[in-house]
C-alpha cells in the first residue's frame, strides 16, 4: 500500500484541490499537510498540489448534490476552526458523503464525522458568541472599528452578518490575532491583511470620535445598574462570558 502525502497551500480552496486529486487517484491512504506541517513530507516526499479554483468548486458542487446544502457548509465551517490535523477527517467526510449520497452530519458515532462536526460546531458557537460580544467604536472619520481576537477564523462570516445588520454604517472588523480585517464601506465587503501593531510600529488604536467616550461610559453605567445585587453571581457571569473576551468589552473596562 502506497502512502501519498498531498501538500496544499493552506487555503480552503487548496485543501479542496488536494482532496479532488486524492479522490481522482483513489489514493489508498492519503495524507494532507499544509505548507508548514512537513512531518510526513520529510519521510515520504510530499506532492505539491496546485490550488485550482475550478476543482475546488466542482468538489463543493458534488458534495451539495450528494449531501444537500448542509454538507459543503459543515466542511467549510470545520475548516475555519483551523485546528491542527483536521485534514484527514475532512477528507473522510467528503468520501463518505459522496459514497453514501446523503447528508451524514447526524452520524455522531463515526469518528471522522464526529471530528468534522465538533470542529464545525466550535466555529458556529464562536461565531454566534461574537455576534453578541463584538464591540464597535466610532472613530473620528465616522468609520466604526471593532477589534477582537477570536479562537477560530470567523471574520468573514461574521462580517457578512454585520453587513446585513449595520448596512448603513461603514465599519472595520479586525482580527488582531491573525492580522486580518474586513472593511465594509456601505456597499461591499473588502477583506485584507493588516500588519500587527508590533510589526508596523503604528499606534494600535485609531482616534475615537468626540462622542464615543460618553456612549461608552453610559454603557458601563447601564451594565452596572442592571445587575441585582442580592442575586450576585460572578461565577455564572464568567462561565457565560469567559475572561479571555473581556479585553475588548467596553463594559468590563474601568
Amino acid at each position: 500500500m502506497s502512502l501519498t502525502v498531498y501538500r496544499y497551500d493552506g487555503s480552503f480552496e487548496g485543501l479542496l484541490s488536494a482532496f479532488a486529486a486524492a479522490l481522482l487517484e483513489q489514493a489508498a491512504a492519503p495524507e494532507f499537510c499544509p505548507p508548514e506541517g512537513d512531518r510526513a513530507g520529510l519521510l515520504f516526499g510530499a506532492r505539491e498540489v496546485p490550488t485550482r479554483q475550478g476543482a475546488a468548486t466542482e468538489l463543493l458542487c458534488h458534495l451539495q448534490t450528494a449531501g444537500g446544502e448542509a454538507a459543503p457548509r459543515t466542511l467549510a465551517m470545520a475548516y475555519l476552526a483551523e485546528l491542527p490535523d483536521h485534514e484527514l477527517a475532512m477528507y473522510e467526510y467528503c468520501q463518505l458523503t459522496l459514497d453514501r449520497h446523503e447528508c451524514i452530519d447526524g452520524w455522531a458515532a463515526h469518528p471522522a464525522v464526529a471530528r468534522v462536526g465538533d470542529d464545525a460546531r466550535r466555529v458556529s458557537r464562536e461565531l454566534h458568541r461574537f455576534k453578541g460580544l463584538l464591540r464597535f467604536m466610532e472613530t473620528t472619520d465616522g468609520v466604526y472599528y471593532a477589534p477582537y481576537e477570536p479562537d477560530h477564523n470567523i471574520t468573514v462570516p461574521l462580517a457578512r452578518y454585520f453587513a446585513e445588520r449595520l448596512g448603513g454604517q461603514p465599519w472595520i472588523i479586525h482580527d488582531r490575532r491573525r492580522g486580518l480585517a474586513v472593511l465594509w464601506d456601505g456597499h461591499s465587503l473588502q477583506p485584507g491583511k493588516v500588519p500587527t501593531p508590533a510589526a508596523s510600529g503604528m499606534a494600535s488604536e485609531p482616534a475615537l470620535s468626540a462622542g464615543e467616550e460618553t456612549v461608552q461610559s453610559q454603557w458601563r453605567t447601564y451594565h452596572r445598574q442592571i445587575a441585582i445585587a442580592s442575586r450576585a453571581n460572578p461565577r455564572l457571569q464568567r462561565q457565560c462570558m469567559p475572561r479571555r473576551y473581556w479585553r475588548y468589552l467596553v463594559e468590563m473596562q474601568g
Binding site: I104, W107, G167, I226, I228
Partner: protein
C-alpha cells in the same frame, strides 16, 4: 439631571423585569439600521449572571400605584427620573450601532394614567421604526388598564408585547397590588393574543400583511412574595400558554426591596425555587410534560434537591428502562440526562448504525444520570447494584456521587423507592 444620571436610575428601576429574550423574529436588514435573527443573541452578562440582550429601561419610575412588592411604588423614597422620548431613541440607536444590544425593552411606571404612559411607549417605538428605520428588536410593556386601541397600535411596531401578571392569584393581587386587578391585566393580554392570531392568519394569505408582535407575547410573575404553591403556579402557567398562546412565562424570585407587613421576611431571594420553576416550565414547553405529571395536590412543591424530571422518573419507574436504539424521540426526552439536543442527535445517529454505550457521551447524554434509565441493545447501562440511595445520590444535581456515597442515611427514602428496586432488577 444628565441623561447618564437618568439612565442610572431608570436602568436600576427596570432591573427586576426578567425577560431578556430577543428571539422569535426573523427580519432582514432593510439597508438602514438593524435586523433580527430567529435565535436571539446575548450581548453581555451582568454580575448577577443574567444575560443582557436588550437595553432594558423604564421611561419613568414615577408611579401612581403602590404595589407592595415593587421597588418603584409610590410610597418609596427613591430617586425619581423620567427620560424624554428622544433620549431613549438616541440611547438605543447609539448602543445598537456599537453592537452593545439587540434592541430595546421599554416599560414604565404610570405617572398620570395608563393611556398616557402607553401613548409614550408607543411614540418611542414609532420614532425608532419610522424615523430611524430601526429594524432591531423592540419589546414593549402593555400597561394594564390602557385603551385596547393603543395596545393594538403598539403591536404594529413591537416584536414582543408583554403584560406582567405580577402575582399567581387574584387574592394575592388584591392583597399586594390593590390598584391592579385580574381584569386589567388579562384584558390587554387578550387584546394582544387576538392581534397575534389575526396577524398569523393574514400572513398565511399574504406575506405583505402588516406585522403584529411577531415574536409573540410573554408575562412575568413574582415568586415567593405570596403563598401559592408550585403546583398552583404551574397550572396557571399552563393555562396562560394554552389560553393566550404565550411564548414565555418568566418567574422572578421575590427580591425583598420593601419593608411591608404584607410581605414575607426573606433575607435572600428564593433563587433555587425560581430555578426549579423554570426547569418545570421547560419540561412543559419542550418535553411534553403536563403540570399534573410534575406535581400533584399531595405533593404540590417541587423537590429542592432533585430536578423535576429526575423526580418524575423516580416516581414512574414503570416507564423505564428506555432502549436507546429504538425508543421514539418523545420517550427519550423523558430520560434524566437526555435533553432535547441529545435526543435529536441520538435519533439522527442511530439511523446510520446501532449505538454503543461509548457513543452516548459524544452526542451529549449525561450518562451519570441517564445510565440508570437506559438500555443499549437490550443491556442495562448502569454497572453494579442500583440501590434507591445510590440512585437518588447520583441524580441530585451538582452533587458528587462519591462524597454522598458514605452517608446514605442523610436522605430520606420514601415509599416510591420500591419501584426503583424493580428498575435495578432488570439489570
Amino acid at each position: 439631571m444628565t441623561s447618564g444620571e437618568k439612565l442610572a436610575i431608570l436602568a436600576d428601576s427596570a432591573k427586576y423585569d426578567a425577560s431578556c429574550a430577543s428571539s422569535g423574529t426573523q427580519r432582514g436588514g432593510s439597508g438602514r439600521l438593524g435586523n433580527c435573527s430567529q435565535s436571539g443573541v446575548c450581548h453581555s452578562w451582568s454580575s448577577d449572571g443574567r444575560c443582557i440582550s436588550l437595553l432594558k429601561l423604564l421611561l419613568t419610575n414615577r408611579c401612581i400605584y403602590d404595589c407592595a412588592y415593587c421597588a418603584n411604588r409610590r410610597s418609596n423614597a427613591i430617586p425619581r427620573a423620567g427620560l424624554e422620548v428622544a433620549e431613549v431613541v438616541d440611547l438605543t440607536v447609539s448602543f445598537y450601532r456599537r453592537n452593545y444590544i439587540e434592541g430595546l425593552f421599554l416599560s414604565s411606571g404610570v405617572e398620570r394614567s395608563p393611556d398616557d404612559t402607553m401613548e409614550q411607549l408607543l411614540q418611542v417605538a414609532r420614532e425608532l421604526r419610522l424615523r430611524h428605520g430601526f429594524g432591531g428588536y423592540i419589546h414593549l410593556k402593555a400597561i394594564p388598564g390602557a385603551d385596547p386601541a393603543l395596545v393594538r397600535r403598539a403591536g404594529t411596531y413591537a416584536d414582543r408585547l408583554s403584560v406582567n401578571i405580577e402575582l399567581p392569584s387574584q387574592e394575592s393581587l388584591t392583597r399586594l397590588a390593590p390598584q391592579k386587578s385580574k381584569e386589567r391585566i388579562l384584558g390587554p393580554m387578550g387584546v394582544i393574543s387576538e392581534g397575534i392570531a389575526e396577524y398569523e392568519a393574514e400572513r398565511g394569505r399574504s406575506r405583505q400583511a402588516p406585522s403584529f408582535a411577531p415574536a409573540g407575547q410573554s408575562t412575568q410573575m413574582v415568586v415567593g412574595a405570596s403563598p401559592e404553591s408550585d403546583l398552583q403556579i404551574l397550572h396557571l402557567s399552563a393555562a396562560l400558554y394554552r389560553r393566550y398562546a404565550l411564548k414565555r412565562v418568566y418567574y422572578s424570585a421575590y427580591v425583598p426591596v420593601n419593608d411591608d407587613s404584607r410581605l414575607p421576611a426573606l433575607r435572600t431571594p428564593p433563587l433555587a425555587r425560581e430555578h426549579r420553576l423554570y426547569q418545570a416550565d421547560w419540561l412543559m414547553r419542550f418535553y411534553g410534560f403536563q403540570a399534573g405529571e410534575l406535581l400533584s395536590p399531595e405533593t404540590p412543591w417541587l423537590d429542592p434537591q432533585l430536578d423535576p424530571k429526575c423526580a418524575w422518573a423516580l416516581r414512574n419507574p414503570a416507564f423505564f428502562p428506555v432502549e436507546v436504539n429504538t425508543a421514539p424521540y418523545e420517550r427519550l426526552l423523558r430520560v434524566p440526562g437526555i435533553g432535547t439536543r441529545a435526543a435529536r442527535r441520538l435519533c439522527d445517529a442511530r439511523r446510520f448504525a446501532a449505538l454503543r454505550p461509548e457513543d452516548l457521551a459524544g452526542v451529549g447524554v449525561v450518562t451519570r444520570r441517564a445510565q440508570f434509565f437506559l438500555t443499549v441493545n437490550g443491556r442495562y447501562l448502569a454497572a453494579g447494584a442500583v440501590t434507591p440511595q445510590r440512585l437518588r445520590h447520583c441524580l441530585i444535581s451538582g452533587g458528587s456521587a462519591r462524597a454522598l456515597w458514605w452517608q446514605p442515611d442523610l436522605f430520606d427514602w420514601r415509599a416510591d423507592g420500591q419501584g426503583i428496586a424493580e428498575v435495578a432488577a432488570c439489570h
